[in-house]
């Protein structure tokens, strides 16, 4: 048994690593440029050269702060055409454009030369002094040069170059410096297209970056319980989760206990009354309950039990009454409980329906077995037969569902926490989601994954306890 548990724990390690790296890579590939969104909130005026510099600095600062610096993973499995220095390009959209070009032309030195020509031209365009009546044209040209930095398709590049051409052609004298830059870009682009080495993109290549990469830093921090800071309020993610956890644990654990306490007797009852109207009634009610979504149920109970028009038995929302922070400890605990009962009940009812059906199915299979008939023939009381002999075998399927307990406690009941205004982990996750708050999201995701694995292990162990025939150590 112990050996089995140890072995399972060992398997959990690589599984965990896989899950963490996967969720990390997904989070790094979300659309849009997060850095840009966060950095641009702080820089406003950016047309002068100085503030362009500042904007760049700000971008770099935010990027470092978010841990988006450097290579993403330990290694990259790409093609021969891919340089191992692409991660040094500051902006994400420019990196993506270069990626596309590499895939098409496969000649990094030429692509790099082209990119640098574009950057130089953009600088020149912004440095260009033109008379005020050419303001619109100049601005337009600047915009096109800027766009060139992050477009990759032939069509788009051609379009922007032509656009710049059409302006410079009208004002050759004022735009002379740009014509030079434009020719340079064209030359570099020709080299890039003509000396293309697309075969390189078919030769796989492995770049090893070492341990100084984003994932390694993140994972190390995560394991040492440094989960970073929330983008929303700069508070440590760990504190935020720790604040939200008690509510979710209370609701999750209690609703689980309630679900089992109700579901098992109900399941057994309907087996004992198999085929009678009582069984059919129970089945119908449970089916109805199972098919009502929890948010509808939440609305229903709120309308009937939190409403002066009907019964005002429970507060509608939140976890504490007004002014409760000054109450004595036990009154405060009772107040919390008063607020949490209703959401907890709603949280558990779907579990009741589901588990009691499972229980019924398991039990029906068992009660037809020979040994049960033998037990009855021995003259044992029906109660002993069912609860002692049949129970142990028929409970196996619903033990599996215990595996859900742990992750459920952490991930919370998202919808219910929103509706009832419970500040639990589910609500934290949803709000983080809307605010693009990656550190919070990825921490919750990873925690849930870890607890799912532990939950599965736990249910395996309980299996062995419930059924001695399952012996892990021999396998």
């Amino acid at each position: 048994m112990l050996r089995y548990i140890l072995r399972r724990l060992l398997i959990i390690v690589p599984t965990m690593f896989a899950i963490m790296s996967l969720s990390f890579l997904i989070s790094r590939n979300t659309p849009g440029d997060l850095v840009d969104a966060l950095a641009s909130a702080t820089d406003e005026e950016r047309s002068s050269a100085r503030s362009r510099d500042q904007a760049k600095k700000e971008y770099q600062r935010v990027k470092t702060e978010l841990g988006l610096d450097g290579p993403v993973f330990y290694f990259s499995l790409t093609s021969l055409a891919q340089p191992d220095t692409l991660h040094r390009i500051l902006k994400r959209n420019e990196r993506q454009a270069l990626d596309q070009m590499i895939a098409r032309y496969g000649n990094w030195p030429e692509i790099s030369a082209y990119y640098h020509a574009v950057c130089a031209a953009e600088e020149a365009a912004f440095a260009l002094k033109t008379p005020p009546d050419l303001l619109n044209e100049t601005n337009n040209v600047r915009l096109y040069f800027n766009t060139l930095r992050y477009v990759a398709t032939e069509r788009e590049i051609e379009f922007n170059l032509a656009a710049i051409d059409s302006v410079t052609a009208l004002h050759p004298a004022e735009m002379a410096p740009l014509t030079v830059e434009l020719n340079n870009i064209r030359a570099k682009r020709r080299a890039m297209v003509e000396d293309a080495t697309p075969w390189k993109t078919y030769v796989p290549a492995l770049h090893w970056y070492g341990f100084n990469n984003q994932f390694h830093r993140w994972m190390w921090n995560f394991l040492t319980l440094d989960w970073g800071k929330s983008f929303q309020d700069r508070r440590p993610v760990r504190t935020k989760i720790a604040e939200a956890l008690p509510w979710s644990i209370f609701m999750g654990f209690l609703s689980f206990v309630i679900a089992y306490l109700i579901a098992i007797p109900v399941g057994v009852y309907s087996v004992r009354k198999r085929g009678t109207w009582q069984d059919r009634a129970v089945t119908t009610v449970l089916f109805l309950a199972y098919s009502i979504p929890s948010f509808v149920m939440a609305m229903l109970v709120m309308t009937f039990f939190c409403n002066p028009e009907f019964f005002y038995l429970f507060p509608t929302s939140g976890v504490a009454s007004d002014g409760a922070e000054n109450w004595p400890f036990w009154e405060r605990m009772l107040d919390y409980a008063h607020h949490l009962i209703l959401p907890t009940l709603v949280f558990s009812y779907i579990g009741v329906a589901f588990l009691s059906r499972q229980m019924r199915v398991g039990m029906i299979d068992t009660v037809d077995m020979d040994y049960i008939r033998t037990a009855r023939a021995k003259g044992l009381r029906e109660r002993t037969v069912i609860w002692k002999h049949a129970m142990r075998n028929s409970i196996l399927p619903i033990i599996t569902h215990l595996a859900n307990l742990l992750p459920r406690i952490v991930s919370g009941a998202v919808i219910l926490e929103i509706i009832f205004a419970i500040p639990g982990v589910g609500r934290l996750a949803i709000q983080a989601n809307f605010a693009y708050d990656q550190p919070v999201l990825i921490a919750i995701l990873t925690l849930t994954a870890i607890l799912t694995l532990l939950g599965i292990l736990l249910s395996d162990i309980l299996y062995a306890v419930a059924d001695p025939r399952i012996s892990f150590s021999k396998r």
Binding site: T30, P31, G32, D33, L34, D36, A37, S40, A41, T42, E44, E45, R46, S47, R52, N93, P132, L135, N136, N139, N140, R142, L143, N146, T147, Y150, A162, A163, S166, Q232, D233, R234, K240, E243, A244, M302, T303, N307, P308, P315, T316, S317, G318, V319, A320, D322, G323, I418, I419, F420, A421, I422, P423, G424, R427, L428, Q431, F434, A435, Y436
Partner: protein
């Protein structure tokens, strides 16, 4: 010079309405009063006020907060030199004794603090506190660098050596909103926030220039201490001169403030909202779901709710015996916000050759059934508008302009004039541009999480079809959408912009500077002339001289039609009837809870 945009306090923020993420800017707004106070008489202390907020603020730090919901709470604890008067919509002195004495060149402003104004320990609020506050804002390594941009035009604060309550603020360049800007941020206590005097030897001039202040150990030490968790969420660390004291924060549930029994405001002989505060407690309850909040109101757990959903609000108006109406008064002040559809008017060769033509843009405006959009999408809570300046800004608004009428025939003839005809009779107009036949297709970009956008798009698409214009609705993820706006890679999008009773600074959205470099001028509006108008407005200090400039630029904006202006929305809030002295306005948050008081017989909560 970075006297940017609008001033931080009354910031006009861009809200992409089609986002679905409810953003709450601290903006201004107008309109008064449905004073439902049924009882009159002398105000009395007591009772609690419970205000709904959809989410917790990020912090209650005087400066390092960005959430809109923080302002509503902070304004009960921190005070400004001036603040908006909810009745007159004017900036009125709060901590300042009177309006500033302005130097002739408009660069120097001399204020004097009220004699009564003190911190909680009885020490006076002085010019040194003001100078300290300016330093905190200009701190280049702070967690609120956006504020620095707004206030870096302050060059010096001189405190009168003979009277520490009197001080002069020097600014860099004349700017029409300077006085309100320098009077419009939270004044904090130097003694409390910097007891060791770490900023004493650092000057404002140093703080304004990054290179002079690099790695100053005093500044670094101060900065670290100033942004400590203590000053963000700890009752011991939130210290201001306002009437309320922060006592409790249960994360995700409530934030509780308690009235200071000995507050300086009570000593001011002249009455008025800045010197009043009656309720013993103000509790901000965080409930993410609005329908839950409304149920909580019905159950008597909440007293004030803002942004009530339009369909619910209509229900309350129509069903007189709705339970909400028993206890709550409905308020709907008109706001300074404008909602618009932005068009990509970038001059050729822009992304789209279609919308670069003024006639096509005008035709689209004629095809927009604004009234139907207001009725169906916004449940009727809005007024049509003509441009970015609200009609409530009477000094700036050009009332000669008329909204572009909904007129399909006019649109058709405009399109004909512009050369768009349906040559292949497929129902969509087309035109030969650069040797290629281009159909009249426009991409309407909406955020995938928006709730209002799809119905608005449906109305637009329908009407446009009748004139042979095809509008393709494209859903985009929010961050992708903003990215495309910044790089002018769009045809049409929808958004809203906040305003305030102050004259509007048009630079952020309408100047060509913010067109090229990924600023907020997404539509590529402007030329040298409009730029000079915008800049002229900023340096013209006399309102009467500004008027013709404002009028001209509004005419140009309407003529160019870079945006289809839809409407100015109305705020919708409900406030419990037991309170007296309830004035509402769309100056955010729309009410001043410190004014509210409850007659003794209606009181719901006894002291504590």
């Amino acid at each position: 010079m970075k006297k940017n945009l609008l001033l931080a306090l009354f910031t006009a923020g861009l809200l992409l309405i089609f986002t679905g993420c409810g953003s709450e800017e601290n903006g201004g707004g107008e309109t008064t009063t449905t004073n439902d106070s049924t009882s009159s008489g002398e105000p009395v202390f007591g009772d609690w006020i419970r205000v709904h907020t959809p989410s917790d603020p990020d912090a209650l730090h005087p400066y390092a907060t960005t959430h809109g919901s923080a302002n509503m709470i902070k304004e009960l604890m921190f005070q400004y030199l001036y603040d908006f008067d909810i009745d007159t919509k004017q900036m009125t002195p709060v901590l300042a004794k009177d309006y500033a004495i302005v130097s002739e060149d408009g660069l120097a402003f001399t204020f004097e603090m009220r004699d009564e104004a003190t911190w909680d320990d009885g020490s006076p609020i002085t010019g040194y506190d003001y100078a300290f506050s300016v330093k905190c804002i200009l701190n280049p390594i702070s967690e609120s660098p956006h504020l620095r941009g707004y206030y870096s035009f302050i060059t010096e604060v001189q405190v009168d050596p003979n009277n520490e309550r009197r001080f002069t603020v020097l600014t860099e360049e004349p700017f029409f909103l300077s006085e309100f800007a320098v009077a419009g941020f939270e004044i904090i206590s130097k003694e409390f926030y910097d007891p060791d005097g770490r900023l004493d030897n650092i000057t404002i001039a140093q703080l304004r220039d990054d290179s002079l202040i690099a790695d100053n150990p005093y500044l670094t030490a101060f900065n670290k201490a100033f942004h400590d968790e203590k000053f963000k969420r700890d009752p011991e660390g939130i210290y201001g001169s306002g009437p309320y004291r922060f006592v409790n924060w249960t994360t995700g549930d409530n934030i509780t403030l308690e009235r200071k029994k000995e507050w300086w405001g009570y000593k001011v002989p002249k009455k008025g909202w800045p010197f009043e505060a009656y309720a013993d407690k103000v509790i901000f309850k965080s409930i993410p779901d609005r329908s839950t909040a409304l149920r909580a109101a019905q159950a008597g757990e909440i007293d004030v709710i803002r942004d009530v959903p339009g369909d619910e609000f209509t229900k309350y108006i129509e069903e007189k015996d709705h339970p909400i109406n028993q206890d709550f008064a409905l308020h709907r002040p008109q706001s300074y916000t404008y909602v618009y559809l932005g068009l990509n008017a970038c001059p050729p060769p822009g992304r789209t050759p279609v919308l670069a033509d003024k006639k096509v843009r005008r035709a689209l405006a004629h095809l927009t059934n604004v009234n139907q959009i207001i009725e169906t999408v916004y449940n009727g809570y809005g007024q049509p508008i003509v441009g970015p300046i609200s009609p409530l800004n009477v000094n700036e608004y050009n009332d000669n302009l008329k909204p572009v009428p909904f007129d399909i025939d006019k649109a058709k003839s405009l399109l004909d004039e512009a050369g768009w005809t349906d040559s292949d009779a497929d129902g969509v107009r087309d035109k030969v541009i650069g040797g290629k036949k281009v159909p009249l297709e426009i991409e309407f970009m909406i955020s995938s999480s928006s709730q209002t956008a799809p119905s608005m798009a449906a109305i637009l698409t329908n009407e446009a079809k009748k004139a042979g214009v095809r509008i393709n609705v494209v859903k985009k993820e929010f961050s992708k959408l903003t990215e495309q706006l910044k790089s002018h890679n769009f045809d049409m999008f929808g958004a809203a912009f906040n305003g305030s009773p102050l004259p509007k600074d048009l630079k952020q959205v309408w100047h060509t500077d913010s067109w090229v470099n990924r600023g907020s001028n997404y539509t590529c509006f402007g030329n040298a002339h409009t730029d000079s108008l915008i800049m002229q407005i900023r340096v013209t200090l006399n309102p009467d001289d500004r008027k013709p400039l404002y009028h001209e630029i509004q005419e140009i904006i309407q003529d160019e039609q870079p945006m289809i202006f839809l409407m100015a929305p109305e705020e919708r809030m409900i406030i419990h009837k037991r309170f007296a002295n309830v004035n509402t306005s769309s100056i955010r948050p729309g009410f001043k809870v410190q004014q509210f008081w409850t007659p003794a017989e209606k009181r719901k909560f006894d002291a504590n």
